[in-house]
Amino acid sequence: MKNEKQNNARPAVCLRAKNRRYRPLYAMMVPGLLYLVINNYIPMAGIVIAFKQVNYKAGILKSPWVGFKNFEFLFKTKDALTITRNTIGYNLVFLILGPLLAITVAILLNELKSKMAKKVYQTVILVPYLISIVVVSYLVYALLATEAGFVNNSVLGAFGAEPVSWYSEAKYWPVILVLVHIWKGFGYSSIIYYAALVGIDRTCYEAAAIDGATRWQQILHITLPGLKSTIITLTLMSIGKMFYSDFGLFYQVPMDSGALYDVTNTIDTYVYRGLMKLNNVGMSSAAGLYQSFVGFILVLTANLVVSKISKDDALF
Protein backbone atom coordinates (compact mmCIF):
# COMPACT_ATOMS: atom_id res chain seq x y z
CA MET A 1 0.00 0.00 0.00
CA LYS A 2 2.76 2.33 0.99
CA ASN A 3 4.53 1.63 -2.19
CA GLU A 4 1.52 2.46 -4.28
CA LYS A 5 1.04 5.76 -2.59
CA GLN A 6 4.58 6.73 -3.30
CA ASN A 7 4.09 5.63 -6.83
CA ASN A 8 1.25 8.02 -7.29
CA ALA A 9 2.92 10.85 -5.54
CA ARG A 10 6.35 10.85 -7.10
CA PRO A 11 6.44 8.59 -10.11
CA ALA A 12 9.79 9.77 -11.50
CA VAL A 13 11.70 9.34 -8.28
CA CYS A 14 10.09 6.02 -7.66
CA LEU A 15 10.89 4.75 -11.12
CA ARG A 16 14.52 5.58 -10.56
CA ALA A 17 14.44 3.84 -7.21
CA LYS A 18 12.83 0.85 -8.82
CA ASN A 19 15.45 0.67 -11.51
CA ARG A 20 18.17 0.93 -8.91
CA ARG A 21 16.59 -2.03 -7.22
CA TYR A 22 17.14 -4.12 -10.35
CA ARG A 23 20.70 -2.99 -10.87
CA PRO A 24 22.23 -6.02 -9.10
CA LEU A 25 20.14 -8.32 -11.25
CA TYR A 26 21.41 -6.67 -14.42
CA ALA A 27 24.94 -6.81 -13.08
CA MET A 28 24.58 -10.55 -12.59
CA MET A 29 23.65 -11.02 -16.21
CA VAL A 30 26.66 -9.16 -17.56
CA PRO A 31 29.21 -12.02 -17.80
CA GLY A 32 26.74 -14.41 -19.42
CA LEU A 33 25.37 -11.90 -21.89
CA LEU A 34 28.86 -10.73 -22.76
CA TYR A 35 29.89 -14.30 -23.44
CA LEU A 36 26.89 -14.81 -25.72
CA VAL A 37 27.73 -11.63 -27.59
CA ILE A 38 31.28 -12.82 -28.18
CA ASN A 39 30.76 -16.51 -28.65
CA ASN A 40 27.46 -16.39 -30.56
CA TYR A 41 26.49 -12.97 -31.86
CA ILE A 42 29.80 -11.76 -33.28
CA PRO A 43 30.17 -14.96 -35.36
CA MET A 44 26.62 -14.35 -36.62
CA ALA A 45 27.83 -11.07 -38.02
CA GLY A 46 30.82 -13.00 -39.30
CA ILE A 47 28.70 -14.76 -41.90
CA VAL A 48 29.71 -11.95 -44.24
CA ILE A 49 32.95 -13.92 -44.67
CA ALA A 50 31.00 -16.13 -47.04
CA PHE A 51 30.70 -13.17 -49.38
CA LYS A 52 34.38 -12.30 -49.23
CA GLN A 53 37.63 -13.55 -50.59
CA VAL A 54 39.47 -13.90 -47.31
CA ASN A 55 42.97 -12.56 -47.33
CA TYR A 56 44.74 -13.15 -44.02
CA LYS A 57 47.32 -10.46 -44.69
CA ALA A 58 44.75 -7.75 -45.30
CA GLY A 59 42.59 -8.99 -42.43
CA ILE A 60 38.99 -10.11 -42.65
CA LEU A 61 37.47 -6.66 -42.56
CA LYS A 62 39.58 -5.43 -45.47
CA SER A 63 39.29 -8.55 -47.60
CA PRO A 64 37.57 -7.85 -50.92
CA TRP A 65 33.88 -8.61 -51.47
CA VAL A 66 33.09 -11.24 -54.06
CA GLY A 67 29.29 -11.40 -53.85
CA PHE A 68 27.88 -14.88 -54.37
CA LYS A 69 31.05 -16.25 -56.02
CA ASN A 70 31.81 -18.63 -53.15
CA PHE A 71 28.31 -20.06 -53.37
CA GLU A 72 28.54 -20.39 -57.14
CA PHE A 73 31.74 -22.37 -56.80
CA LEU A 74 30.30 -24.51 -54.03
CA PHE A 75 27.12 -25.43 -55.85
CA LYS A 76 28.95 -26.18 -59.07
CA THR A 77 30.91 -28.94 -57.37
CA LYS A 78 29.64 -32.44 -56.88
CA ASP A 79 30.40 -32.00 -53.18
CA ALA A 80 27.43 -29.72 -52.56
CA LEU A 81 25.04 -32.45 -53.61
CA THR A 82 26.92 -35.19 -51.75
CA ILE A 83 27.10 -33.35 -48.44
CA THR A 84 23.46 -32.28 -48.61
CA ARG A 85 22.34 -35.78 -49.51
CA ASN A 86 24.41 -37.38 -46.75
CA THR A 87 23.42 -34.90 -44.07
CA ILE A 88 19.71 -35.14 -44.79
CA GLY A 89 19.75 -38.85 -45.64
CA TYR A 90 21.35 -39.99 -42.41
CA ASN A 91 19.18 -37.65 -40.39
CA LEU A 92 16.04 -39.07 -41.97
CA VAL A 93 17.07 -42.60 -41.09
CA PHE A 94 17.95 -41.52 -37.54
CA LEU A 95 14.64 -39.69 -37.29
CA ILE A 96 12.67 -42.84 -38.07
CA LEU A 97 14.74 -45.60 -36.46
CA GLY A 98 15.74 -43.67 -33.34
CA PRO A 99 12.28 -43.12 -31.84
CA LEU A 100 11.11 -46.61 -32.88
CA LEU A 101 13.76 -48.32 -30.78
CA ALA A 102 13.64 -45.75 -28.00
CA ILE A 103 9.87 -45.98 -27.57
CA THR A 104 10.02 -49.77 -27.60
CA VAL A 105 12.66 -49.74 -24.89
CA ALA A 106 10.73 -47.16 -22.88
CA ILE A 107 7.59 -49.29 -23.01
CA LEU A 108 9.51 -52.39 -21.96
CA LEU A 109 11.11 -50.54 -19.06
CA ASN A 110 7.72 -49.29 -18.03
CA GLU A 111 6.11 -52.72 -18.12
CA LEU A 112 8.84 -54.46 -16.17
CA LYS A 113 7.93 -55.22 -12.59
CA SER A 114 11.35 -55.63 -11.04
CA LYS A 115 12.58 -52.25 -9.82
CA MET A 116 16.12 -53.53 -9.52
CA ALA A 117 16.19 -54.75 -13.12
CA LYS A 118 14.77 -51.46 -14.35
CA LYS A 119 17.52 -49.55 -12.68
CA VAL A 120 20.26 -51.82 -13.98
CA TYR A 121 18.95 -51.64 -17.55
CA GLN A 122 18.64 -47.86 -17.40
CA THR A 123 22.16 -47.54 -16.13
CA VAL A 124 23.64 -49.83 -18.76
CA ILE A 125 21.90 -48.41 -21.82
CA LEU A 126 23.20 -44.94 -20.91
CA VAL A 127 26.84 -46.00 -20.82
CA PRO A 128 27.46 -45.45 -24.56
CA TYR A 129 25.98 -41.96 -24.31
CA LEU A 130 28.44 -41.06 -21.59
CA ILE A 131 31.71 -41.55 -23.42
CA SER A 132 33.29 -39.31 -25.99
CA ILE A 133 32.99 -40.04 -29.68
CA VAL A 134 36.77 -40.41 -29.80
CA VAL A 135 36.56 -43.41 -27.51
CA VAL A 136 33.69 -44.69 -29.66
CA SER A 137 36.03 -44.56 -32.64
CA TYR A 138 38.42 -46.84 -30.78
CA LEU A 139 35.59 -49.25 -30.02
CA VAL A 140 34.62 -49.35 -33.68
CA TYR A 141 38.26 -49.76 -34.60
CA ALA A 142 38.55 -52.76 -32.27
CA LEU A 143 35.70 -54.34 -34.19
CA LEU A 144 36.62 -53.34 -37.71
CA ALA A 145 40.40 -53.01 -37.95
CA THR A 146 41.61 -54.93 -40.97
CA GLU A 147 44.48 -56.80 -39.32
CA ALA A 148 43.47 -57.17 -35.72
CA GLY A 149 39.75 -56.37 -35.84
CA PHE A 150 37.29 -58.61 -34.03
CA VAL A 151 34.93 -58.93 -36.98
CA ASN A 152 37.58 -59.97 -39.49
CA ASN A 153 39.26 -62.40 -37.11
CA SER A 154 36.58 -63.86 -34.94
CA VAL A 155 33.38 -63.47 -36.96
CA LEU A 156 34.34 -63.70 -40.62
CA GLY A 157 37.27 -65.94 -39.71
CA ALA A 158 34.97 -68.39 -37.98
CA PHE A 159 32.92 -68.76 -41.14
CA GLY A 160 36.04 -68.99 -43.24
CA ALA A 161 35.09 -65.80 -45.06
CA GLU A 162 37.64 -63.41 -46.52
CA PRO A 163 38.56 -60.46 -44.31
CA VAL A 164 37.07 -57.14 -45.37
CA SER A 165 39.06 -53.94 -45.51
CA TRP A 166 36.35 -52.00 -43.70
CA TYR A 167 37.95 -48.58 -43.71
CA SER A 168 38.21 -48.51 -47.48
CA GLU A 169 34.87 -50.02 -48.51
CA ALA A 170 32.29 -47.25 -48.69
CA LYS A 171 29.31 -49.53 -49.23
CA TYR A 172 29.25 -50.80 -45.64
CA TRP A 173 29.41 -47.43 -43.95
CA PRO A 174 25.82 -46.24 -44.16
CA VAL A 175 24.87 -49.29 -42.09
CA ILE A 176 27.85 -48.97 -39.74
CA LEU A 177 27.21 -45.29 -39.06
CA VAL A 178 23.52 -45.83 -38.40
CA LEU A 179 24.35 -48.66 -36.00
CA VAL A 180 26.94 -46.58 -34.16
CA HIS A 181 24.56 -43.64 -33.89
CA ILE A 182 21.80 -45.84 -32.51
CA TRP A 183 24.20 -47.61 -30.17
CA LYS A 184 25.35 -44.31 -28.73
CA GLY A 185 22.02 -42.52 -28.57
CA PHE A 186 19.12 -44.91 -28.01
CA GLY A 187 19.63 -45.05 -24.25
CA TYR A 188 19.33 -41.30 -24.00
CA SER A 189 16.07 -41.04 -25.91
CA SER A 190 14.69 -44.15 -24.21
CA ILE A 191 15.14 -42.43 -20.86
CA ILE A 192 13.31 -39.35 -22.09
CA TYR A 193 10.37 -41.41 -23.35
CA TYR A 194 10.41 -43.52 -20.24
CA ALA A 195 10.17 -40.41 -18.06
CA ALA A 196 7.12 -39.36 -20.05
CA LEU A 197 5.55 -42.80 -19.60
CA VAL A 198 6.04 -42.74 -15.85
CA GLY A 199 3.90 -39.61 -15.86
CA ILE A 200 0.89 -41.42 -17.33
CA ASP A 201 -1.81 -42.07 -14.76
CA ARG A 202 -1.73 -45.76 -13.77
CA THR A 203 -5.46 -45.84 -13.18
CA CYS A 204 -6.02 -45.45 -16.93
CA TYR A 205 -4.39 -48.84 -17.45
CA GLU A 206 -6.34 -50.41 -14.61
CA ALA A 207 -9.62 -49.13 -15.99
CA ALA A 208 -8.72 -50.33 -19.48
CA ALA A 209 -7.78 -53.76 -18.18
CA ILE A 210 -11.07 -54.06 -16.34
CA ASP A 211 -12.84 -53.18 -19.57
CA GLY A 212 -10.98 -56.07 -21.17
CA ALA A 213 -8.37 -54.18 -23.18
CA THR A 214 -5.45 -56.33 -24.26
CA ARG A 215 -1.88 -55.24 -23.73
CA TRP A 216 -1.66 -54.15 -27.36
CA GLN A 217 -4.80 -52.08 -27.08
CA GLN A 218 -3.49 -50.47 -23.94
CA ILE A 219 -0.21 -49.55 -25.63
CA LEU A 220 -2.02 -48.28 -28.70
CA HIS A 221 -4.69 -46.27 -26.91
CA ILE A 222 -3.07 -45.16 -23.68
CA THR A 223 0.70 -45.34 -23.93
CA LEU A 224 1.27 -43.89 -27.39
CA PRO A 225 -1.21 -41.03 -26.98
CA GLY A 226 0.49 -40.32 -23.65
CA LEU A 227 3.79 -40.01 -25.48
CA LYS A 228 2.40 -37.80 -28.20
CA SER A 229 3.75 -34.55 -26.93
CA THR A 230 7.21 -35.97 -26.22
CA ILE A 231 7.32 -37.53 -29.67
CA ILE A 232 6.33 -34.23 -31.26
CA THR A 233 8.86 -32.21 -29.26
CA LEU A 234 11.75 -34.56 -29.96
CA THR A 235 10.86 -34.96 -33.63
CA LEU A 236 10.57 -31.22 -33.97
CA MET A 237 14.00 -30.80 -32.45
CA SER A 238 15.44 -33.40 -34.82
CA ILE A 239 13.85 -31.77 -37.84
CA GLY A 240 15.29 -28.46 -36.73
CA LYS A 241 18.71 -30.11 -36.65
CA MET A 242 18.22 -31.90 -39.97
CA PHE A 243 20.95 -29.84 -41.60
CA TYR A 244 23.45 -30.52 -38.85
CA SER A 245 25.37 -33.71 -38.28
CA ASP A 246 27.36 -35.16 -35.43
CA PHE A 247 30.83 -34.13 -36.57
CA GLY A 248 32.55 -36.79 -34.49
CA LEU A 249 30.39 -39.58 -35.89
CA PHE A 250 31.14 -38.72 -39.49
CA TYR A 251 34.72 -37.56 -39.13
CA GLN A 252 36.18 -39.53 -36.27
CA VAL A 253 34.45 -42.90 -36.43
CA PRO A 254 35.42 -43.55 -40.10
CA MET A 255 38.90 -42.29 -39.13
CA ASP A 256 38.75 -39.56 -41.76
CA SER A 257 39.30 -42.23 -44.42
CA GLY A 258 39.35 -40.67 -47.89
CA ALA A 259 37.95 -43.78 -49.53
CA LEU A 260 34.74 -43.33 -47.56
CA TYR A 261 34.09 -39.62 -48.20
CA ASP A 262 31.30 -40.35 -50.62
CA VAL A 263 29.16 -41.73 -47.81
CA THR A 264 30.70 -39.99 -44.79
CA ASN A 265 31.08 -36.42 -45.96
CA THR A 266 28.43 -34.20 -44.36
CA ILE A 267 28.17 -30.44 -44.24
CA ASP A 268 30.00 -30.35 -40.91
CA THR A 269 32.93 -32.49 -42.03
CA TYR A 270 33.09 -30.56 -45.30
CA VAL A 271 33.29 -27.25 -43.47
CA TYR A 272 36.02 -28.60 -41.22
CA ARG A 273 38.12 -29.98 -44.05
CA GLY A 274 37.68 -26.87 -46.15
CA LEU A 275 38.82 -24.66 -43.31
CA MET A 276 41.55 -26.71 -41.66
CA LYS A 277 42.88 -29.11 -44.26
CA LEU A 278 42.34 -27.56 -47.69
CA ASN A 279 42.55 -23.96 -46.61
CA ASN A 280 39.57 -23.15 -48.78
CA VAL A 281 37.90 -20.59 -46.53
CA GLY A 282 35.55 -19.37 -49.26
CA MET A 283 33.88 -22.70 -49.92
CA SER A 284 33.95 -23.63 -46.29
CA SER A 285 32.22 -20.47 -45.12
CA ALA A 286 29.72 -20.69 -47.95
CA ALA A 287 28.83 -24.23 -46.89
CA GLY A 288 28.63 -23.05 -43.28
CA LEU A 289 26.25 -20.24 -44.09
CA TYR A 290 24.18 -22.56 -46.28
CA GLN A 291 23.88 -24.82 -43.21
CA SER A 292 23.00 -22.03 -40.77
CA PHE A 293 20.48 -20.49 -43.12
CA VAL A 294 18.63 -23.65 -44.14
CA GLY A 295 18.87 -24.88 -40.55
CA PHE A 296 17.23 -21.70 -39.31
CA ILE A 297 14.41 -21.99 -41.83
CA LEU A 298 13.89 -25.62 -40.87
CA VAL A 299 13.54 -24.78 -37.18
CA LEU A 300 11.05 -22.02 -37.89
CA THR A 301 9.04 -24.18 -40.30
CA ALA A 302 8.99 -27.18 -38.01
CA ASN A 303 7.83 -25.02 -35.17
CA LEU A 304 5.16 -23.38 -37.31
CA VAL A 305 3.81 -26.75 -38.41
CA VAL A 306 3.66 -27.98 -34.83
CA SER A 307 1.99 -24.85 -33.57
CA LYS A 308 -0.73 -25.44 -36.18
CA ILE A 309 -1.26 -29.09 -35.21
CA SER A 310 -0.87 -28.87 -31.49
CA LYS A 311 -0.20 -25.47 -30.05
CA ASP A 312 1.06 -26.58 -26.65
CA ASP A 313 3.91 -28.56 -28.12
CA ALA A 314 5.45 -25.71 -30.07
CA LEU A 315 8.83 -24.60 -28.81
CA PHE A 316 8.11 -20.90 -29.06
Binding site: L25, P31, P43, G46, E111, V127, V135, S154
Partner: protein
Protein backbone atom coordinates in the same frame (compact mmCIF):
# COMPACT_ATOMS: atom_id res chain seq x y z
CA UNK B 1 -0.34 -53.74 -14.89
CA UNK B 2 -3.20 -56.07 -14.25
CA UNK B 3 -2.72 -58.61 -17.00
CA UNK B 4 1.04 -58.82 -16.85
CA UNK B 5 1.74 -62.41 -17.85
CA UNK B 6 4.92 -64.19 -16.86
CA UNK B 7 5.71 -64.81 -20.52
CA UNK B 8 5.66 -61.13 -21.32
CA UNK B 9 7.92 -60.27 -18.40
CA UNK B 10 10.38 -62.88 -19.49
CA UNK B 11 10.38 -61.70 -23.09
CA UNK B 12 10.90 -58.12 -21.96
CA UNK B 13 13.86 -59.16 -19.83
CA UNK B 14 15.38 -61.07 -22.73
CA UNK B 15 15.11 -58.06 -25.05
CA UNK B 16 16.57 -55.71 -22.46
CA UNK B 17 19.42 -58.06 -21.65
CA UNK B 18 20.26 -58.37 -25.34
CA UNK B 19 20.30 -54.59 -25.63
CA UNK B 20 22.57 -54.34 -22.61
CA UNK B 21 24.95 -56.84 -24.18
CA UNK B 22 24.84 -54.77 -27.36
CA UNK B 23 25.80 -51.70 -25.31
CA UNK B 24 28.55 -53.30 -23.29
CA UNK B 25 30.11 -55.73 -25.73
CA UNK B 26 32.48 -53.19 -27.35
CA UNK B 27 33.75 -52.16 -23.93
CA UNK B 28 34.46 -55.74 -22.96
CA UNK B 29 36.30 -56.21 -26.23
CA UNK B 30 38.30 -53.05 -25.61
CA UNK B 31 39.30 -53.91 -22.07
CA UNK B 32 40.17 -57.54 -22.80
CA UNK B 33 42.22 -56.58 -25.81
CA UNK B 34 44.11 -54.00 -23.81
CA UNK B 35 45.33 -56.66 -21.39
CA UNK B 36 46.18 -59.25 -24.02
CA UNK B 37 49.72 -60.06 -24.95
CA UNK B 38 50.89 -58.26 -28.11
CA UNK B 39 51.89 -61.42 -30.00
CA UNK B 40 48.49 -62.98 -29.37
CA UNK B 41 46.80 -59.82 -30.66
CA UNK B 42 48.85 -59.87 -33.83
CA UNK B 43 48.10 -63.54 -34.38
CA UNK B 44 44.43 -63.70 -33.43
CA UNK B 45 43.19 -60.16 -33.38
CA UNK B 46 41.23 -58.36 -30.68
CA UNK B 47 39.06 -60.74 -28.73
CA UNK B 48 36.74 -60.90 -25.78
CA UNK B 49 38.78 -63.35 -23.76
CA UNK B 50 42.44 -62.50 -23.23
CA UNK B 51 44.22 -65.75 -23.96
CA UNK B 52 47.59 -64.56 -22.75
CA UNK B 53 47.28 -61.77 -20.22
CA UNK B 54 49.85 -59.01 -20.31
CA UNK B 55 49.93 -55.47 -19.01
CA UNK B 56 52.74 -54.37 -21.28
CA UNK B 57 50.58 -51.85 -23.07
CA UNK B 58 49.75 -50.06 -19.82
CA UNK B 59 53.29 -50.30 -18.60
CA UNK B 60 54.42 -48.69 -21.80
CA UNK B 61 51.78 -45.96 -21.60
CA UNK B 62 52.58 -44.90 -18.10
CA UNK B 63 56.24 -45.67 -17.74
CA UNK B 64 57.59 -44.73 -21.13
CA UNK B 65 55.43 -41.81 -22.05
CA UNK B 66 54.71 -38.62 -20.23
CA UNK B 67 51.95 -37.73 -22.68
CA UNK B 68 49.22 -39.58 -20.81
CA UNK B 69 49.99 -38.13 -17.41
CA UNK B 70 50.19 -34.64 -18.87
CA UNK B 71 46.99 -35.19 -20.81
CA UNK B 72 45.18 -36.16 -17.63
CA UNK B 73 46.48 -33.13 -15.83
CA UNK B 74 45.29 -30.83 -18.59
CA UNK B 75 41.91 -32.53 -18.81
CA UNK B 76 41.34 -32.27 -15.07
CA UNK B 77 42.43 -28.64 -14.99
CA UNK B 78 40.26 -27.69 -17.97
CA UNK B 79 37.26 -29.60 -16.63
CA UNK B 80 37.42 -28.04 -13.17
CA UNK B 81 37.98 -24.46 -14.31
CA UNK B 82 35.57 -24.72 -17.22
CA UNK B 83 32.78 -26.24 -15.16
CA UNK B 84 33.17 -23.65 -12.41
CA UNK B 85 33.03 -20.74 -14.82
CA UNK B 86 30.19 -22.26 -16.79
CA UNK B 87 28.07 -22.88 -13.71
CA UNK B 88 28.76 -19.39 -12.39
CA UNK B 89 27.83 -17.68 -15.66
CA UNK B 90 24.80 -19.90 -16.14
CA UNK B 91 23.45 -19.32 -12.64
CA UNK B 92 24.06 -15.59 -12.75
CA UNK B 93 22.18 -15.29 -16.02
CA UNK B 94 19.42 -17.75 -15.19
CA UNK B 95 18.42 -16.22 -11.87
CA UNK B 96 17.52 -12.71 -13.10
CA UNK B 97 15.73 -14.28 -16.07
CA UNK B 98 13.64 -16.33 -13.69
CA UNK B 99 12.39 -13.17 -11.95
CA UNK B 100 9.02 -12.28 -13.39
CA UNK B 101 9.35 -8.67 -12.24
CA UNK B 102 12.62 -8.01 -14.09
CA UNK B 103 12.10 -5.14 -16.54
CA UNK B 104 12.72 -6.14 -20.18
CA UNK B 105 12.79 -9.76 -19.14
CA UNK B 106 11.35 -11.07 -22.39
CA UNK B 107 13.93 -9.19 -24.42
CA UNK B 108 16.79 -10.80 -22.50
CA UNK B 109 15.15 -14.21 -22.67
CA UNK B 110 14.88 -13.92 -26.41
CA UNK B 111 18.47 -12.72 -26.64
CA UNK B 112 19.54 -15.94 -24.96
CA UNK B 113 17.09 -18.20 -26.79
CA UNK B 114 17.92 -16.89 -30.25
CA UNK B 115 21.44 -18.34 -30.03
CA UNK B 116 19.79 -21.76 -30.13
CA UNK B 117 17.99 -20.97 -33.36
CA UNK B 118 20.70 -19.41 -35.44
CA UNK B 119 24.46 -19.48 -35.43
CA UNK B 120 27.22 -18.05 -37.56
CA UNK B 121 28.84 -21.40 -38.11
CA UNK B 122 32.33 -22.71 -37.60
CA UNK B 123 34.28 -20.46 -39.97
CA UNK B 124 33.45 -17.04 -38.49
CA UNK B 125 33.90 -18.26 -34.95
CA UNK B 126 37.21 -19.90 -35.82
CA UNK B 127 38.36 -16.66 -37.44
CA UNK B 128 37.31 -14.64 -34.44
CA UNK B 129 38.98 -16.85 -31.84
CA UNK B 130 42.20 -17.17 -33.79
CA UNK B 131 42.55 -13.75 -35.42
CA UNK B 132 41.18 -11.45 -32.71
CA UNK B 133 41.61 -13.40 -29.51
CA UNK B 134 44.70 -15.38 -30.55
CA UNK B 135 43.77 -18.41 -28.52
CA UNK B 136 45.49 -20.92 -30.77
CA UNK B 137 47.72 -23.15 -28.67
CA UNK B 138 46.71 -21.83 -25.28
CA UNK B 139 44.82 -23.49 -22.46
CA UNK B 140 42.04 -20.98 -23.05
CA UNK B 141 41.35 -22.71 -26.37
CA UNK B 142 40.25 -25.78 -24.45
CA UNK B 143 38.04 -23.81 -22.08
CA UNK B 144 36.53 -20.78 -23.76
CA UNK B 145 35.01 -21.48 -27.19
CA UNK B 146 31.46 -22.86 -27.11
CA UNK B 147 31.68 -24.55 -23.76
CA UNK B 148 31.73 -21.74 -21.24
CA UNK B 149 27.98 -21.22 -21.30
CA UNK B 150 25.09 -22.33 -23.43
CA UNK B 151 21.55 -21.08 -23.84
CA UNK B 152 20.15 -24.54 -23.31
CA UNK B 153 21.40 -24.85 -19.75
CA UNK B 154 20.50 -21.27 -18.94
CA UNK B 155 16.93 -21.95 -19.97
CA UNK B 156 16.91 -25.25 -18.11
CA UNK B 157 18.07 -23.54 -14.93
CA UNK B 158 15.79 -20.55 -15.34
CA UNK B 159 12.77 -22.82 -15.69
CA UNK B 160 13.86 -24.74 -12.65
CA UNK B 161 14.25 -21.57 -10.58
CA UNK B 162 10.91 -20.15 -11.56
CA UNK B 163 8.99 -23.34 -10.93
CA UNK B 164 10.72 -24.36 -7.70
CA UNK B 165 11.17 -21.12 -5.87
CA UNK B 166 7.97 -19.34 -4.93
CA UNK B 167 7.91 -15.60 -5.60
CA UNK B 168 6.72 -15.11 -2.04
CA UNK B 169 9.98 -16.46 -0.63
CA UNK B 170 12.04 -13.99 -2.62
CA UNK B 171 9.66 -11.16 -1.80
CA UNK B 172 9.84 -12.00 1.90
CA UNK B 173 13.62 -11.98 1.84
CA UNK B 174 13.58 -8.63 0.08
CA UNK B 175 11.29 -7.12 2.65
CA UNK B 176 13.62 -8.40 5.35
CA UNK B 177 16.30 -6.32 3.71
CA UNK B 178 18.27 -8.92 1.78
CA UNK B 179 19.96 -7.70 -1.39
CA UNK B 180 19.76 -9.61 -4.67
CA UNK B 181 23.20 -11.17 -4.25
CA UNK B 182 22.27 -12.35 -0.84
CA UNK B 183 18.93 -13.73 -2.02
CA UNK B 184 20.72 -15.65 -4.75
CA UNK B 185 23.46 -17.07 -2.56
CA UNK B 186 21.50 -17.77 0.61
CA UNK B 187 18.05 -18.64 -0.63
CA UNK B 188 17.93 -19.54 -4.30
CA UNK B 189 21.11 -21.63 -4.48
CA UNK B 190 20.49 -23.74 -1.38
CA UNK B 191 16.98 -24.47 -2.71
CA UNK B 192 18.35 -25.52 -6.10
CA UNK B 193 21.05 -28.00 -5.23
CA UNK B 194 19.65 -30.88 -7.33
CA UNK B 195 19.61 -28.87 -10.57
CA UNK B 196 23.05 -27.49 -9.82
CA UNK B 197 24.44 -30.97 -9.20
CA UNK B 198 22.84 -32.18 -12.42
CA UNK B 199 24.19 -29.35 -14.53
CA UNK B 200 27.63 -29.65 -12.95
CA UNK B 201 27.67 -33.25 -14.04
CA UNK B 202 26.52 -32.51 -17.59
CA UNK B 203 28.88 -29.59 -18.08
CA UNK B 204 31.77 -31.49 -16.53
CA UNK B 205 31.12 -34.33 -18.93
CA UNK B 206 31.18 -31.91 -21.88
CA UNK B 207 34.54 -30.60 -20.83
CA UNK B 208 35.95 -34.02 -20.10
CA UNK B 209 34.82 -35.38 -23.46
CA UNK B 210 35.62 -32.38 -25.60
CA UNK B 211 38.06 -32.97 -28.39
CA UNK B 212 36.72 -30.60 -31.06
CA UNK B 213 38.23 -27.44 -29.59
CA UNK B 214 41.52 -29.28 -29.43
CA UNK B 215 41.15 -30.34 -33.04
CA UNK B 216 40.64 -26.76 -34.19
CA UNK B 217 42.81 -24.75 -31.87
CA UNK B 218 45.60 -26.97 -30.56
CA UNK B 219 48.55 -28.17 -32.58
CA UNK B 220 51.29 -28.24 -29.94
CA UNK B 221 51.32 -31.48 -28.03
CA UNK B 222 52.14 -29.83 -24.76
CA UNK B 223 48.52 -28.59 -24.70
CA UNK B 224 46.98 -31.95 -25.56
CA UNK B 225 44.22 -32.99 -23.21
CA UNK B 226 43.46 -36.66 -22.94
CA UNK B 227 40.74 -36.60 -25.64
CA UNK B 228 42.89 -34.61 -28.05
CA UNK B 229 45.67 -37.08 -27.48
CA UNK B 230 43.33 -40.00 -28.10
CA UNK B 231 42.17 -38.38 -31.29
CA UNK B 232 45.73 -37.92 -32.46
CA UNK B 233 46.74 -41.46 -31.56
CA UNK B 234 43.85 -43.16 -33.29
CA UNK B 235 45.40 -42.36 -36.60
CA UNK B 236 48.99 -42.45 -35.53
CA UNK B 237 50.19 -44.61 -32.65
CA UNK B 238 53.75 -43.59 -33.34
CA UNK B 239 52.75 -40.15 -32.17
CA UNK B 240 52.99 -41.17 -28.56
CA UNK B 241 56.57 -42.25 -29.04
CA UNK B 242 57.70 -39.27 -31.02
CA UNK B 243 56.10 -36.78 -28.68
CA UNK B 244 57.29 -38.37 -25.49
CA UNK B 245 60.70 -37.26 -26.65
CA UNK B 246 62.49 -39.34 -24.07
CA UNK B 247 66.10 -40.07 -24.86
CA UNK B 248 67.11 -43.66 -25.35
CA UNK B 249 63.69 -44.61 -26.62
CA UNK B 250 65.06 -46.09 -29.82
CA UNK B 251 66.15 -49.23 -28.10
CA UNK B 252 62.60 -49.79 -26.96
CA UNK B 253 60.96 -49.08 -30.28
CA UNK B 254 60.97 -52.69 -31.34
CA UNK B 255 59.08 -53.58 -28.19
CA UNK B 256 56.27 -51.08 -28.61
CA UNK B 257 53.05 -53.08 -28.24
CA UNK B 258 51.37 -50.96 -30.92
CA UNK B 259 48.27 -53.10 -31.39
CA UNK B 260 47.54 -53.38 -27.70
CA UNK B 261 48.43 -49.80 -26.91
CA UNK B 262 45.59 -48.52 -29.03
CA UNK B 263 43.14 -50.35 -26.82
CA UNK B 264 44.90 -49.44 -23.59
CA UNK B 265 44.91 -45.75 -24.39
CA UNK B 266 41.16 -45.81 -25.08
CA UNK B 267 40.56 -47.57 -21.77
CA UNK B 268 42.64 -44.91 -20.07
CA UNK B 269 40.50 -42.23 -21.71
CA UNK B 270 37.14 -43.75 -20.81
CA UNK B 271 37.82 -45.38 -17.45
CA UNK B 272 37.50 -42.35 -15.16
CA UNK B 273 34.03 -41.60 -16.52
CA UNK B 274 32.91 -45.20 -16.33
CA UNK B 275 34.25 -45.53 -12.79
CA UNK B 276 32.50 -42.42 -11.53
CA UNK B 277 29.29 -42.91 -13.48
CA UNK B 278 27.43 -45.30 -11.12
CA UNK B 279 27.65 -42.72 -8.33
CA UNK B 280 26.21 -39.95 -10.48
CA UNK B 281 23.80 -42.06 -12.45
CA UNK B 282 20.82 -40.59 -10.60
CA UNK B 283 21.73 -37.01 -11.48
CA UNK B 284 22.58 -37.98 -15.00
CA UNK B 285 19.15 -39.49 -15.62
CA UNK B 286 17.58 -36.46 -14.01
CA UNK B 287 19.55 -34.12 -16.26
CA UNK B 288 18.37 -35.95 -19.34
CA UNK B 289 14.75 -35.85 -18.30
CA UNK B 290 14.62 -32.19 -17.35
CA UNK B 291 16.58 -31.30 -20.45
CA UNK B 292 13.83 -32.80 -22.55
CA UNK B 293 11.14 -30.65 -21.03
CA UNK B 294 11.14 -27.42 -22.92
CA UNK B 295 12.07 -24.29 -21.08
Amino acid sequence: MVSNGKGFQRAAHVVMILLCVFCLFPFVLLISSSITDEMTLIREGYSVIPKVVSFDAYKYLFVSSKAIARGYKITVFVTVIGTLVNLTFTTLLAYPLSRKDLPHRSFFSFFVFFTMLFNGGVVPSYMMWTQFFHIKNTYAALIVPNLMMGAFYVIMMRTNFSSNIPDAVIEAARIDGAGEWRILSQIVLPMSLPIIATLTLLVGLHYWNDWVNGLYYISKYKYYSIQVLLNRMLQDVQYLMSSSGAAGMDSMDSAIPATGIKMAVAVVGALPELAVYPFFQKYFVKGITIGAVKG
